[in-house]
Symmetry: C2
Subunit: 244 residues, 2 copies
Amino acid sequence: MNMSAARHSVDEAAVPARCRTCTSRQHGFCSDLTVGELHRLSPHVSRRRADAASQVLSQGLANTSYVHLLDGVVKLTALVRDGTEQIVGLRFAGDFLGQRFARDVGFTAAAATDVEYCRVSKPALDALADQSTRIAHRMHRWVATELDETRGLMLALAQRDARQKVAGLLYRISQRQSPAALRTTLDLPLSRSEMGNYLGITVETVSRQLSRLKREGLISIERKTLVTIEDMGRLAAAANISGQ
Amino acid sequence: MNMSAARHSVDEAAVPARCRTCTSRQHGFCSDLTVGELHRLSPHVSRRRADAASQVLSQGLANTSYVHLLDGVVKLTALVRDGTEQIVGLRFAGDFLGQRFARDVGFTAAAATDVEYCRVSKPALDALADQSTRIAHRMHRWVATELDETRGLMLALAQRDARQKVAGLLYRISQRQSPAALRTTLDLPLSRSEMGNYLGITVETVSRQLSRLKREGLISIERKTLVTIEDMGRLAAAANISGQ
DNA sequence: CGTTATTTTGATAAGTGTCAACTAGCGTGG
DNA sequence: CCACGCTAGTTGACACTTATCAAAATAACG
């Protein structure tokens, strides 16, 4: 048996079968777990698929699980006090969802595409975190990262005009789906009205800005939801994302 | 010795002198510490005052301390990539500032009024957190709370018009400074241009909306920065904050 | 192939930004 | 002490952006 290249320990054979071929074992949340931890958590993890539009987490229900998204896109929505539903974020493959200290789930996570994910029992992972500062740190850091992102997004929404908002959203989605590409095609996980909801502008304005970006050659659009970024550089410029 | 009820029991005499009269010992961060922990942390804490406009934390410097704000208001600003300075938040008495996992400080905290605070050595508190899940949880929870607030603010900024933004800012400041009041006078910790910066609108628009709120009798203004909320209910309505 | 929902486009109204003038407050130096 | 200039704030006129209302075009679907 040749395990010499393994960056994990000699026990690699002990990795649960379903994890062995999972890319998240190499890059995602699970890459931060030792084989022992993985094994211990394994009975409390179930791998699942869900069709587009089904709910992965539901606001208001008891907060009993974390979700590790393996494939697809999930949109987070919150029912705000005045009764309207607000889109508060998007999550992609590799992202981890869940709130450590909330009694009830604070937002709904709805599959925007067909998705695959691992459902992790919250008590089980919490117990692990209380025994391993490394895991506790990791979970703490997720929140910190999320806070940074949300802060950035907040500034974006407060300061930018409609064009920058729309361009910025396309840019962010494309960065998550194929980071390095200069030109890429993506299937938008949001309808026009959802985009408007998310960005705080109307459907009509979203549509007009998309048409404008198309007219200017930064993107092209087939079948409404299928968008090709023709010029990533100019798109980033339109989004007013200077560095990065 | 009974440690479970120990928070305010027999050992209370061992509480460091300067903490004994501090309101935060009862309500703030320190109320979550046992007497032993408080004692252990004490040599790594220094109580300080700072004049308005001085910096309490400086973006880019090494991240070596937490700050527990005891009195006054602090404004958080971030230097964004394009060189502009953005106000990203306000912090009030009782709030805790600091980032657990950042190597450098991510934002500048500038005193908006004269302030009093305790500077806590980061290594010392981090060490304590790694030994006590209770403290680690507490620190984790701060970030989670901050994330919730930021998310709410993000929606506010994305969806609300200028009037709602300005009314909402006044409302939030008044809630932090005197929660239960129906009518209260507050000294704005921000200039008009800072308010505009924070809310993503121009100085002129801020000024116009303030004038309008004054004309409509929701507030009155003396000496520019001294604002009296005349009708908290209508102000909340103008901010479009239905419940709460 | 018609029916329905979504998206796009157009015309107009409302809101905000921009530019400019004016006012109030305040410290400085004559 | 007053005049002066400086800064922050307010107000007005106008331009530009976005929302709103309405209608047409396109896609989705039985």
